[in-house]
């Protein structure tokens, strides 16, 4: 049953993998290279994509845990929601634009426009940094009106959730910077599921989605 789920073919055939092998840049771990050429079982999901989905599942569970805590606390009798600093709207827009920028970057690359790719990729990264700056500004604004971490339960959750989210954004920024520095420009030889740019973009969209969800949870649904 499972054999069909992971798309394996007949076992006794000499087979080539069903996905294009990744061309690893020079200097990669030789053992990993040896493994990827050595094994011949055809799998539907290349390693990097499987790892990414596992990471996303883990992060999702983290925010699920926080969400359940929020729901429990919100049911308390002393719940008084704080206002949403208006800059959060701008931050949300910045993050959505950064996701868009990454997608435009990928399209540019597909059409061979290297300069366009790097430009839009950098824009996405920059917008992510701008998002973080905006989040910091939101924290400062709340502190200025006297809402600190322990002041109100709603405020506590805002600070905590936006902080944990920001940590994951920082992780995403580091990943994007790493991709940029390694100059993984040429997409043509790489299968989408193993392409580092694509994988980073998926992580980034996930982080954007989490923020949209958190904003909704904290300030729309309250």
């Amino acid at each position: 049953m499972l054999d069909t789920l992971v798309g394996e073919r007949k076992l006794d055939d000499v087979q080539s993998p069903s996905w294009t092998p990744v061309e690893l840049p020079a200097g990669q771990n030789d053992l990993l290279a040896a493994q990827q050429l050595d094994r011949a079982s055809s799998v539907a999901v290349p390693p990097a994509m499987a790892a990414l989905w596992a990471v996303l599942a883990t992060v999702l569970m983290l925010f699920a845990g926080f969400s359940s805590a929020y729901l429990v606390r919100r049911a308390g009798p002393d719940w008084l929601p704080i206002y949403a600093p208006p800059i959060l709207w701008i931050n949300t827009a910045l993050l959505l634009l950064s996701s868009l920028a990454l997608e435009i970057a990928k399209t540019s690359r597909k059409f061979g426009k290297q300069a366009g790719f790097r430009g839009w990729f950098l824009a996405g990264l920059g917008l992510g940094v701008a998002f973080l700056a905006g989040q910091w500004a939101a924290w400062r604004e709340l502190a200025a009106v006297g809402i600190f971490l322990p002041t109100s339960p709603h405020g506590s959750f805002f600070y905590m959730l936006s902080g944990v989210h920001a940590v994951h954004v920082i992780g995403g920024i580091l990943a994007l910077a790493f991709v940029l520095l390694r100059r993984w420009n040429s997409a043509s030889k790489l299968n989408a599921a193993a392409d580092p740019v694509n994988l980073c973009a998926i992580y980034w969209h996930f982080v954007t989605g989490i923020w949209v969800y958190l904003y909704w949870l904290l300030f729309v649904w309250r």
Binding site: L11, L31, A34, Q35, P47, A51, V55, M61, G65, M160
Partner: protein, 588 residues
């Protein structure tokens, strides 16, 4: 790639540091995890001996111990707060820093690539990082003994308010903060390792190694990894919130109206129940993360020493899956007496009792694997049989604890302590020993001493049964857990003295482990050299040299032609066929 040899593509590290310290080889990392687990087990086992000493002789004075732990004793008698610290750290260290490190970090790292026919894990650098973060976590945890106030004292379950109010007990000061940091680092390490195992098993299986040809060790490690990856994050969330309550002034877990002495605490609006839910959301799947690998390993060991295939391989795999899924929705059975609605209690109870079905299937399959076999009573086989005995009997305790009506009486009594020690202390420990004795020749290229091993088994098995079976009866008699002494309770006057006999058995149990340590070390230097496959087993790791070189197989990685349990077949002068043996029919 067909004729490329190992040396052409694999660059073996040359320096001592890169080979044995900062190594990316899964085997070295696995042994590093083992080493750490053994060291911590000495600490945690020592703590257990202290617990038993206190319970055996609650009124005795210990001037020597007072010299070693000046803050823990007063007038030679152990302080209650110190007892709580010992109980807390014994549990925490054993669960996370011994069993998880040994089973998942040690056996997982060492065996996964070998048993699936891969040269190493998918991400060797991440693997190395996971060990060093794990070591850092261990240092932080052990370091918490030395800060002011001593180690955390809120139980391994770390319930607020005790864990959330720094002035509550001495251990709730810096010790509790370090506990939380140590746990956070542990979870980071586990996540990194878990990702590696998940991707490796998914993608790096050798040619011909389909899912249903995997040894049950791999299945159990795979599912334990999946459960762990999904279950740990809510504990991360909970720990972050607890840190904020402690140091940020928030009130996630602390309600209004809490007094410490005469001082009213400023918190309001939180609830300790939130912590309980989040903790046990991890806590329950965590025990299945710990128990699945030894069960999987026991199957492999049994097959080799009964010379027949495991019984019900497919059903066991499905049972592992079912246990994994169900384990995520039964956490409330740790909280029946917390005031939850009885209807919610019923929901958790139904789920808990449903888990007995796949557990019983696994237990039955273990037992049926023995039927009609040609039994070889080697030391690993004895420990594997011990796993059966402990799993069977200990599992029954779960029925009583899983039913709210009986749990109302049994919760927080020694019945619980007896039950979980059978499962986490018994099944996992005996599974670990079975695995260590079984795979020792592969790890070190030498054999351990059989006689010493058998003595170790009996001196472990008999006292273990004695200690923890008796605790069930103490619990039925109403003896509560986490109490530092029982001599002053009239309703326990008949039972309190029995702690002495339990302690004596526990001391024998503890001392017997020194035998194992000696045998372990002796074998490395003086043991008989082991062949590639001394147990005549079928899985792929036995086709690699003992110990395997960097890259595991000198030539090509094996191609798999059959499942992992081709025992009892006619194959020339052998009664088994390795997984890599070619040919469609049984005879070679």
């Amino acid at each position: 790639m067909s004729d490329a040899h190992l040396s052409e593509v694999v660059h073996e590290p040359q320096s001592f540091i890169r080979r044995y310290i900062f190594s990316q080889d899964h085997k070295v990392i696995g042994l590093q995890y083992f080493l750490t687990a053994v060291f911590v087990s000495l600490v945690a086992g020592g703590l257990a001996m202290l617990i038993r000493m206190q319970l055996a002789w609650p009124t005795a004075t210990w001037p020597l111990l007072q010299k070693v732990f000046p803050d823990g004793f007063s007038g030679g008698i152990m302080k209650p707060e110190f007892y709580l610290s010992i109980v807390t750290m014994h549990g925490t260290l054993m669960v996370f820093f011994v069993i998880s490190y040994a089973l998942l970090g040690g056996f997982g790292n060492y065996l996964i690539p070998l048993q699936i026919g891969a040269r190493d894990m998918a991400y060797p650098f991440l693997n190395m990082l996971s060990y060093w973060v794990a070591l850092l976590a261990t240092v932080v945890m052990l370091g918490s003994f030395y800060v002011e106030g001593g180690a955390a004292a809120a139980g391994w379950t770390s319930y607020p308010p005790l864990s959330a109010v720094p002035e509550a007990v001495p251990g709730s000061a810096m010790g509790q903060t370090l506990w939380l940091l140590g746990m956070a680092l542990f979870i980071v390490s586990f996540t990194m390792g878990g990702l590696n195992y998940f991707v490796t098993i998914l993608n790096l299986r050798a040619r011909g190694m389909s899912w249903m040809r995997l040894p049950l060790t791999i299945w159990s490690l795979f599912l334990a990894t999946v459960i762990g990856l999904l279950a740990f994050p809510p504990l991360t969330a909970a720990a972050i919130m607890l840190l904020m309550d402690r140091h940020g002034g928030t009130s996630f877990y602390l309600p209004a109206g809490l007094f410490f002495g005469k001082k009213l605490l400023a918190h309001q609006g939180g609830t300790p129940l939130l912590w309980q839910h989040l903790f046990w959301f991890l806590g329950h799947p965590e025990v299945y993360v710990l128990i699945l690998p030894p069960l999987g390993m026991t199957f492999d060991v049994l097959a080799a020493f009964t010379r027949k295939p495991v019984f019900g391989y497919r059903m066991t795999v499905y049972s592992f899956w079912t246990i994994g899924a169900l384990s995520m929705i039964v956490w409330g059975h740790h909280m029946y007496v917390s005031g939850m609605s009885p209807y919610i209690g019923e929901f958790f109870s139904v789920g808990t009792l449903l888990i007995t079905i796949p557990s019983a299937i696994i237990g039955f399959n273990l037992l049926a694997s023995l039927w009609g076999g040609s039994l070889r009573f080697t030391t690993p086989m004895l420990f594997a049989l011990g796993v059966l005995a402990l799993f069977g009997l200990g599992g029954f305790g779960g029925l009583f604890l899983g039913t709210p009506t009986s749990d109302i009486f049994l919760h927080d009594t020694y019945f619980v302590v007896g039950h979980f020690h059978y499962m986490i202390g018994g099944v996992t420990l005996f599974g670990m020993f079975a695995g260590l004795y079984f795979w020792y020749p592969k790890f070190f290229g030498r054999m351990m001493n059989e006689t010493l091993g058998k003595i170790h088994f009996w001196l472990t098995f008999v006292p273990f049964y004695f200690v923890f079976l008796w605790m069930h009866f103490l619990g039925l008699g109403g003896m509560p857990r986490r109490y530092y002494a029982f001599n002053e309770y009239q309703f326990l006057s008949a039972l309190a003295g029995q702690n002495l006999y339990i302690s004596i058995a526990a001391f024998i149990l503890g001392a017997a482990q020194l035998l194992f340590l000696f045998n372990f070390l002796w074998g490395i230097w003086k043991g008989r050299k082991a062949s590639e496959n001394p147990w005549e087993a079928t899985s792929l790791e036995w086709t690699a040299p003992s110990p395997p070189p960097h890259g595991n197989w000198p030539g090509r990685t094996p191609t798999v032609h059959r499942w992992a349990y081709e025992y009892g077949v006619e194959a020339g002068d052998r009664d088994y066929l390795p997984q890599s043996a070619a040919g469609r029919s049984a005879s070679a």
